[in-house]
């Protein structure tokens, strides 16, 4: 079942009204919308009551029609007032409509006019075989429309929604506290609009226009879709605290990217995990302490270059079935010095015998190596070095390396 509302020159109003009843809406020119109303009778009662409810909501004088297919509804909406067409009676209901509403090519319209066909009803009564022989496929299609037997699918409009809120301030705001009230209001409004459409966001961009200074942009990227205005506000304030605007704020514009909300169901026997919304706020607080790129998940990079990893946002998903088995025996761990500590090393018989560095100093009792590693020679930052595993007299085990090009020694870390 499809409904059509016809009110010339009121398309935005019609779309807003139709959106209340259905997400599947097609625009018909600038004057009408047709939309799917299947299943609404359980909410509004028979189609006549549903049409009356539409009439009440649309807010302007409009023709409303409900029919079994979109084309019949579109044509019936040209009849004044409310028209409800029962299934199988489309031809009868549309019979008195003038033929010029049917569309089609100018040649066909002229031919029908010459034949003296003036209405849908007259065209519908013509024998189909004769119409097919004289007017071809177009004639057959137009006659099916005149009989109210359209079979086409609805072509819903793309939802070009933009979740943006802008506020121009009457006077420049210098402090974060008064700004927080403004941001809270913008966030509440954006979240309300997102929530009304069952959406969430994973990115919020705040653009602050400043007095005599370039714009200040703050981007909040979230690993999971969220819809918590209070949490967003705290995260934005933490960001602004860490990187405050350079001058007083004149205007605030906030844009939220729309995404589908996260839907998960925890299992009874699944290990507990932090609530993503709460965790994101906690991480934002920690990031505020430690600085960016210091909090997250380390992802190893596919290279042999030592200590190669990239920091990713922490977003633990479902438990992965890892192919690697858990080692039977614990693996020896390396504790890295970042950056590696420069060392002065005394070498005797091609082996390090004494180290002196801020990390470790003393005689070496055992040294095994060297193990040469190199790579990235095709890039601007190649590396080439000789590694040694050494034990000092104090009992500590360290990894030393010597850069081949510079001949300098470094302590990379300790085995622990």
């Amino acid at each position: 079942m499809f409904a059509c509302i016809y009110a010339p020159g009121n398309l935005p109003l019609l779309i807003e009204c139709a959106r209340f009843f259905s997400p599947h809406i097609e625009e018909i020119g600038e004057d009408a919308v047709v939309f799917d109303v299947r299943g609404l009778t359980s909410l509004y009662g028979p189609p006549a009551l549903l049409a009356r409810e539409m009439d009440r909501r649309v807010g302007v004088t409009a023709n409303i029609a409900i029919a079994g297919n979109p084309d019949a509804a579109i044509h019936a909406a040209r009849l004044r007032g409310i028209t409800v067409i029962e299934a199988g009676r489309e031809a009868e209901a549309l019979a008195r409509l003038p033929l010029n509403l049917l569309g089609g090519s100018a040649e066909t319209a002229e031919l029908l006019d010459l034949w003296g066909i003036r209405s849908f009803g007259e065209f519908a009564k013509l024998p189909p075989l004769g119409v097919a022989a004289r007017l071809g496929d177009e004639g057959v299609y137009l006659q099916s429309l005149a009989r109210g037997e359209g079979r086409r699918q609805l072509r819903p409009i793309e939802d070009a929604l933009r979740f943006e809120e802008v506020m121009e301030l009457e006077y420049p705001v210098e402090l974060l506290e008064p700004l927080s009230f403004i941001l809270g209001r913008l966030l509440n409004e954006v979240c309300r609009r997102l929530g009304a459409r069952s959406l969430a966001t994973n990115e919020i961009r705040l653009r602050l226009t400043l007095e005599n200074a370039p714009e200040h942009l703050t981007v909040l990227r979230l690993p999971v879709p969220m819809l918590d205005a209070a949490a967003f506000l705290k995260m934005l304030l933490l960001e602004l605290n860490g990187r405050p605007p350079a001058a007083a704020v004149l205007k605030a514009a906030l844009v939220a990217e729309q995404v589908r909300p996260r839907r998960t169901q925890q299992g009874l026997f699944v290990a507990m995990s932090p609530e993503p919304e709460k965790l994101e706020l906690t991480i934002a607080r920690i990031r505020h302490l430690t600085g960016p790129d210091k909090v997250g998940t380390a992802e190893l990079v596919d290279t042999h270059r030592p200590d190669s990893f990239r920091m990713q946002a922490f977003a633990p998903g479902a438990v992965k079935m890892l192919k690697r088995e858990c080692a039977e025996e614990p693996r020896l761990a390396l504790r890295r010095f970042r950056p590696a500590k420069y060392a002065q090393v005394i070498v005797a018989q091609e082996r390090p015998v004494r180290i002196s560095s801020p990390a470790v100093s003393g005689p070496v009792v055992m040294a095994k190596g060297p193990w040469r590693t190199s790579g990235d020679w095709w890039r601007v930052s190649p590396w080439k070095r000789d590694e040694w595993d050494v034990e000092t007299v104090a009992g500590g085990l360290y990894r030393l390396y010597q850069e081949i090009d510079s001949r300098r020694w470094f302590v990379e870390g300790s085995y622990d």
Binding site: V270, A271, M272, S273, P274, E275, K278, L279, T282, I283, R285, I286, L289, T290, K294, V295, G296, T297, A298, E299, L300, D307, F309, M311, F314, P316, G317, V319, K320, L322, R324, E325, C326, A327, E329, P330, R331, L332, A333, L334, R335, R336, F337, R338, M366, K368, G369, D389, E391, A394, G395, G396, L397, G413, S414, Y415, D416
Partner: protein, 218 residues
């Protein structure tokens, strides 16, 4: 002492009416059978555990084994790295699922590390929280007040997280439910290769002093 006289066989509950036994919330296996036997099944959840020892005593290898076991059970883990010495490649080699490990690199700032561990433990949801102060100077660790340790212990109790602190000397004292002292025994050299280290874990707060030896291999 006025009032009722306590009999010689008075229970602790009679002596201290507010006393309640710590609720046992299960244990996280360390993945090292000898240490599991020593600790009655692993690290207790909802408690603060201290792992201490000198350089190359196997503290980090032990913690990576624990991390590996916990992440494979689907636990979310946090590694608060006071000195910025966490090596993701070593953790991966030990079998840890790095995507379930939140790494906080504090770059030598102990105060930030304490705040981070406090925020994460209070927030809840983590099965294992490691505060790695193994490279932090002892004088800085000693400066942490008993009240801070108590706060962390209380947060761990409330949220059920197993909070493990790695350091060179025991610091949390009465706030830790278990203290494991790691001792280096000897490195294992085979030919031109370092094959591992032999380490000993000794339970310091156990009613019977016990120790377990294990080898961390390269």
């Amino acid at each position: 002492m006025g009032g009722a006289t306590l009999s010689k066989t008075a229970t602790l509950r009679e002596i201290a009416p507010g006393f309640r036994k710590r609720e046992e919330r299960g244990r996280l296996s360390t993945g090292i059978s000898a240490v599991d036997r020593l600790t009655d099944g692993g690290i207790a959840r909802g408690t603060l555990t201290e792992i201490c020892g000198p350089v190359s005593s196997g503290r980090t290898s032990f913690l990576f084994a624990l991390l590996s076991r916990a992440t494979r059970q689907g636990e979310c883990c946090a590694w608060i790295d006071a000195s910025g010495s966490f090596d993701p490649a070593s953790a991966f080699a030990a079998g840890a699922d790095l995507s379930r490990v939140l790494w906080v690199n504090c770059d030598g700032n102990t105060e930030h590390a304490l705040k981070a561990v406090d925020l994460l433990t209070q927030g809840g949801g983590f099965g294992l929280v490691v505060l790695d102060m193994a490279d932090t100077p002892e004088r800085e660790v000693r400066r942490i007040s008993l009240a801070s340790w108590f706060r962390l212990r209380h947060a761990a109790e409330r949220t059920g997280a197993a909070l493990v602190v790695a350091e060179t000397k025991i610091s949390a004292r009465s706030c830790s439910a278990m203290q494991i002292e790691m001792k280096r025994k000897r490195p294992v050299w085979v030919g031109k290769l370092l094959r591992g280290i032999r380490a000993e874990a000794e339970s310091q707060k156990h009613y019977r002093a016990q120790s377990a030896e294990f080898t961390a291999v390269v």
